[in-house]
């Protein structure tokens, strides 16, 4: 456990060295909320979404967590190219501790980065009450671990920098577009019919639905089922990422 924390702390400390990246991300996410509030609200069909800013803010919570947890993948990719990974493998920690440490480091980045947006969501949408707080915390922890693991594993698939960036971008955009962050399921259903069901089962959609419920935007969410589905996604993604990351780190050539 101590080794896991040491490795996670190392990744967390390095997060602060990207102050400009952090500032840029915060500006981007806040700008998204402000722009959607100021501009898109004037363009939106109110019969579909009465208040777009309240609709999109819980989605931005998912997005903020996703972006920051995913950020660790780029560094892991650079480490692989610069052969820092070989040094990490030679440290006196077990492989399990190494992998868990990296996953925890990425997840902590996500949780810390997202905390400011949680306050913003409280101001813009509503304050979660009692049990709803547990749902917010649970959703954030599970999603951040899932995205951290996925990002780390994907970044080690190839040593080619462009290909690393492309693979991460493709996954990033697939998760981003196939979600309910920016549009409600009935809009997706109107365009793509039954495909909307698949979109509502994506991890970002499930997390966004849970946030929308917890912040009081949507009452009609099955919290238990969605929480179980998110746990299942996290378990599968972490397990797959664990084996993929280790296999890529230790393979020859």
């Amino acid at each position: 456990m101590k080794s896991v924390l040491v490795i996670a702390t190392r990744d967390l400390k390095r997060f602060w060295s990207y102050r400009f990246w952090l500032a840029g991300q915060i500006v981007m996410n806040v700008a998204d909320i402000v722009i959607f509030g100021l501009l898109f609200n004037n363009m939106i069909n109110r019969s579909l979404i009465p208040d777009y800013i309240k609709f999109v803010t819980p989605g931005i919570l998912s997005l903020a967590l996703f972006i920051s947890s995913f950020s660790i993948g780029r560094e892991v990719g650079v480490e692989l190219r610069r052969e820092v990974s070989d040094y990490l493998l030679s440290l006196p920690v077990s492989r399990v501790e190494l992998v868990l440490g990296r996953f925890t480091g990425g997840a902590l980045r996500g949780l810390i980065y997202q905390s400011g947006f949680v306050v913003l969501a409280m101001l813009l949408v509503g304050v979660p009450r009692g049990y709803a707080w547990l749902v917010v915390i649970y959703t954030s922890i599970t999603l951040s671990f899932a995205m951290s693991g996925l990002s780390i594993a994907l970044s080690t698939v190839t040593r080619d920098f462009n290909l690393q960036a492309t693979i991460r971008s493709v996954v990033y955009y697939v998760l981003f577009f196939f979600s309910n962050i920016f549009y409600p399921p009935r809009v997706i259903a109107a365009r793509f019919g039954g495909f909307a069901d698949a979109v509502s089962y994506s991890p970002l959609s499930i997390a966004t639905s849970l946030y929308r419920w917890a912040f009081g935007y949507t009452p009609e969410v099955d919290v238990v089922i969605d929480s179980l589905l998110l746990a299942a996604w996290t378990a599968v993604l972490l397990l797959a990422s664990y084996f993929l990351y280790l296999w890529n780190l230790t393979k020859k050539g």
């Binding site: 840029g24 500006v27 501009l39």
Partner: protein
């Protein structure tokens, strides 16, 4: 004015060729980028356009298509910066400086080579957009290609200027990310100018933004009825596009010719 010899032109072509040839190794990269672009246009574009209420004479999906293509040209051209920043680590910049090629030739070659490569990279996505828009005038297609190339040259010039001035992979990565995020957001790529005009600071920022000019120019070219939703008159848009290309190409050439030194990247 210095004389340009045939040797200089041959060197220039070699530098351009070096940049463009790298595209051959990026076939998979282009294919993946095209796939996710089409995915974005079909999934995100059609869904979000359904949310937008109707405006007289405006089909938001067509508006979105030309806007999102402009952001694509921009981000692909910006991506050249990551490659140039990567060349620090691999010592390629120093190798280039050691070549028996004039600095000005090398500089011009990198700007032209980078922009030609970016332009070629975006052509599959351009073809897809044209398939969706179905233009009825081939001349406008040619004009739009010239505008896209000039825009790409301006952005590549901007990237080279920043990368070779900052001299750090990480700092470049971060700086370009911030510039990318702000420029794309503070523009008319996704919002018509009359809507933006309701927030004056945003409106003035978008007017000064070259990305607005390019996206609006493409819209006015292919969908003339959208002129009422543009930020500037077409002459102003053209002036911005040409100004960006000439200004940043010159800056890039100046940085490479006068400021760049081998070694000491840190």
């Amino acid at each position: 004015m210095r004389a340009v010899s045939s040797r200089d032109l041959v060197d220039l072509l070699h530098v351009i060729e070096w940049d463009v040839r790298k595209l051959r190794r990026q076939t998979l990269f282009v294919a993946m980028r095209t796939t996710w672009f089409i995915l974005q246009v079909i999934v995100f574009g059609t869904s979000i356009s359904l949310l937008v209420r109707s405006f007289p004479g405006l089909n938001y999906y067509d508006f979105y298509l030309l806007g999102v293509f402009t952001t694509l040209v921009y981000s692909v051209s910006i991506a050249r910066g990551y490659e140039i920043a990567d060349e620090f680590d691999e010592g390629i910049v120093e190798y280039h400086l050691a070549l028996p090629v004039k600095r000005s030739t090398l500089a011009l070659g990198r700007v032209l080579g980078g922009s030609v490569a970016s332009f070629l990279f975006t052509l599959p996505m351009y073809a897809f957009i044209m398939f969706m828009i179905r233009p009825d005038n081939v001349f406008y297609v040619l004009v739009s290609l010239v505008a896209i190339y000039l825009f790409s040259a301006g952005v590549v010039g901007l990237v080279i200027t920043v990368v070779l001035s900052v001299k750090s992979t990480d700092a470049t990565d971060i700086l370009m990310g911030v510039i990318d995020a702000l420029l794309v957001r503070l523009s008319t790529v996704f919002y018509p100018a009359p809507i933006i005009a309701k927030v004056l600071p945003y409106y003035y920022a978008s007017l000064a933004n070259p990305i607005s000019s390019v996206s609006d120019f493409l819209r006015v070219l292919f969908l003339p009825e959208y002129a009422v939703y543009a930020s500037l008159p077409p002459q102003g848009q053209v002036a911005y596009i040409v100004g960006l290309a000439v200004g940043f190409s010159y800056l890039a050439i100046y940085v490479i010719s006068h400021k760049l030194e081998a070694g000491g990247w840190r």
